[in-house]
Amino acid sequence: MSQSQISEDTKYLFKRDKTWWVKLAVPRPLRGELGFDLRRSLHTDNVEAAREARWEAIEEFRSRFEQAMAQQGGNAAAAVMDPVEDSDRAVQARDGVRKVDQHIVEIVSDSGEGAQKCGQVLGLVSGKMGNGVWTVEIIPAEIQPPARERQGASGIRVRMGSKYMTNMGDEADIVVAFNEQVLYSRISNHAYRKGTVVLLENMWAEDPDPKIREQYKEALADFEAQGLVVLELPIQEECLKLVPDPRKGKNMFVLGMLCSIYNRDTEIAKNEITKIFKKKSEKVIKINHDLFDAGYAFARENINYAFEIPAAKEDQLKSAVVMNGNTAAGLGVMASGIELVSMYPITPATSASHYLAEDFHLTGGFVHQAEDEIAAIGFAIGASYAGKTACTITSGPGMALKTEMIGLAIMAELPLVIINVQRGGPSTGLPTKVEQGDLLSALYGIPGDSPKIVIAAATISECFHFVVMARKLAESFRTPVIMLTDANLGTGVQPIERPEVTEEWFAAPLDQSDWDPEVAPYDWDKETGLSERPIPGMRGGEYILTGLAHNRNSKIAYDSVSNQEGMDMRSRKFAAMSATMKPPEIHGDPTGDLLIVGWGSTLGAIEEAVDRARAEGQKVSCVHLRFLSPMEPGLKEIFAGFKKVMTVEINYSDVPGSSPLITEDTRRYSQLALVLRAQTLMDIDCWSMVPGHPLQPGTIHKVIDSRLAEMKGAEACSA
């Protein structure tokens, strides 16, 4: 029997679990009264029996339509879904298109329903249309959490704007939810506000399981109490008209809906769909195009929201590439001339290696998946010792395991790039979520004096460029370089300016010229501590590298003079590097009431918050540190221009007063604050939290306002 015959034969029928159901769409004028469709179980798993039984139900449904028509006088008005407006940013339900400068959409579902793919395409299409875009995946910690699990939300957030987007923004404006339960974890993450519109799959309302029907009902009431504007939509049912199992394909229908709401270019969208399924058959591509078209048409007819986000001309990229921070780091590895990445799987860092495993061969590189984290860095160290440029990519727990090896690389002065895509800690912590908790361990987490270079990327673009810089720094200063990124940058996707890679970025070819045997393997320059290193294969340079205390000839030396000299020389390199650096740029005025200091992925949110506060007349500025060791110079002078200096970080700090035991004396500071206090001897305050999600600009804005108000209050008191 051919495919088309099957689909003819299941007209009005669909299967849920093993049971056949019949359903009939309700004509539009009656939907306010009867819902989107009438349906009923046929209590059989036999398709033949279902075919027989359906006609009786269809007849009955039709007669109900006639009755309803008659009651309405045959000219019932279309049911208008009119949401409540609770805030000035609320989405308006009006005919006609509303212009906005930015909008945030979330698509949430159970794992495996393709919500992420749907959002990725929406982001790509928006990027192609010249919008600024930031997308970030919502990832459950488990691979296949049970269906309809509150904590199992899987999905994606897409922030689209007229200008270049630098962060994931505040609460979402529109959410598409494949079931009601997954919304709960997003609500508890403060992802939504009053007035956020929820486009909700309504199939659960009539689920055969009474428990599910009850959950759905309760959730609707909860959402209403939260101020969410819920629009129940028959997404499943509409998809069933095209495919037998909408679990696959519903995402394309939703993409069509969203492309209609945001007036996205359908040609671009369909091209992207073709690309996704390019390895599949024409038929698969067609059915997904059909689902997209159906979603688009459905939204045009049934959803009364339409927005336009015009692309700002001044913010256009010359030539954009779209990627997340982990892929950017992978590409940075390739562009830097690194030829070996040695890794062990760890969330959220692994996707960088996944990408490299696919494309690294294009620049002649190789990804080694080691037997453990220690072997991963050991392998990279071996390659580096042998003159090859190497890198290891990991996350917090992996860093902990690598500490002894990092110490060896410091002691033996081996160049090495270590990328730490930070997650929440301590211990296994929050594997998929963001935290900036590894700053202190990157700086100090190795026994003995172990100075090294530590840099932190603040943007997705920097995830790329900083690897190129890290490789050069590692070789110039004969040291490991730790590059910190985090889950926010690692999984955030946006269009960035395409890097123009030049051959100077690549590492120099392996030097195998003769070594002057008179020159020691650690021929330290007394002032800078810098030295050249012999590479195996160089005649005359033979030396035995050792992790033991050693003199400039790399001979084991336990005497005090040699030990002191070795420590001095290894430390002096960083003073030498510091001497080449410039102070960081201040965002805002160079003087004022409050200076926010940040590092890493919070850049976009902090600057957006500072811009908002400044627009309201607040005297607030911010600086963002990229170099954590050695630190950028001139910080004391910058800090002196402000009445108060405060770091904003995503790591733990005690909130004074949160317990009677937490006082100014006992309070533990956030990580950068602690370092800055030690470095500058200034009274640097901090505000930090560990929510497991990126900081929202709105949250930081509130913190700025409240700190400024506190300062004013204190001034008034003292006056």
Binding site: V322, K388, L545
Partner: protein, 317 residues
């Protein structure tokens, strides 16, 4: 210095290396320690192979055995306890031109570095792996090692080791993709030399367990074997090592063993009563990971630039 080439012309090498070209600082091992003999064998095999000292890398971990690189005048890497193998594999990964030796011990390899031992064997990169197995932690002063025989007293188990020792041969012979497994005792110089030479010539990871005397802490282990050669069994075969009759005479037990027979090798290793000496297993055809990790290393800068732009094209908006 001179040699006949295939076309009968005389090959004159520019450089000829003597033992001195491979030997470094004066060894600091104890008098009577078996390590001295192993070092001498390594120097000799290096000289015979005439590989340039600057192309030779001796990698080690931590322990008495791991001092070996310091006694070489080649390149060397004296790293962390247990981690010689990952470093050695990394050295080899993109430098197939380097001749890599690993010196490790029973604590370094079978205990703290056990994970790397298993996986390095499976990677089968072209590395000569010598395990100096004296059945004790020497450098840290007499603690029980995985191969300390039952009831031998140590500082961590004063009334004697509590558990039967690990059998490194059965473990190694159980790993997939192994290619060379041998066992020797440090005090038989001709056999020691022949086996280490074969191990060095083999392309792949050659694992040589060397039963090594520690006269300071566990003299009894070596002495028991020396006093009773019947506890050892010399493996003979045309595919194995060839030693002359004077050596054979020293071992009352001989067994004809085909090193390509993994099952037979496992059976020999399993027998706790008699130590097999010689090559237990040899498979020259096992896949070598270093041939895979080094792919692309010679790519020109121009080709890399082209590849880089191709990679970026995948993400073009």
């Amino acid at each position: 210095m001179f040699g006949l080439k295939g076309d009968w012309s005389l090959e004159v090498k520019n450089r000829y290396f003597t033992l001195d070209d491979y030997s470094g600082a004066e060894p600091r091992w104890c008098t009577g320690c078996g390590d001295h003999g192993i070092l001498a064998a390594v120097h000799r095999v290096c000289r015979e192979s005439q590989i340039e000292p600057e192309k030779t890398v001796a990698v080690s971990g931590i322990g008495c055995s791991s001092r070996l690189p310091h006694y070489m005048s080649t390149y060397g890497f004296h790293g962390l306890h247990g981690r010689a193998l990952p470093v050695a594999c990394g050295v080899k990964s993109r430098r197939p031109d380097l001749d890599v030796w690993v010196a490790t011990g029973d604590g370094d390899c079978f205990s703290i570095g056990a994970a790397h031992w298993i996986h390095a064997m499976r990677y089968n990169m072209d590395i000569t792996l010598l395990v100096f197995d004296n059945g004790i932690y020497g450098l840290t002063k007499k603690q029980t090692s995985p191969t300390t025989p039952l009831d031998v007293p140590t500082n961590t188990h004063p009334s004697g080791a509590l558990l039967p020792p690990l059998n490194p041969l059965t473990v190694t012979l159980g790993i997939t993709n192994i290619s060379f497994v041998a066992q020797i005792v440090d005090w038989n110089a001709p056999l020691r030399h022949e086996v280490i030479k074969k191990a060095h010539e083999h392309k792949g990871t050659s694992f040589v367990r060397i039963i090594q005397r520690c006269p300071v802490y566990v003299e009894s282990i070596g002495k028991a074997l020396q006093d009773e050669p019947a506890r050892m069994q010399l493996l003979t075969h045309e595919k194995g090592v060839q030693v002359d009759d004077s050596v054979k005479k020293l071992f009352p037990n001989h067994a004809e063993h085909d090193p390509s027979d993994l099952g037979a090798a496992r059976a020999l290793a399993e027998d706790a009563n008699i130590l097999p000496l010689g090559i237990l297993y040899h498979n020259p055809d096992a896949p070598q990971y270093d041939l895979m990790t080094s792919v692309g290393m010679d790519m020109s800068i121009d080709d890399r630039l082209v590849g880089m732009n191709q990679a970026l094209d995948h993400f073009a908006l």
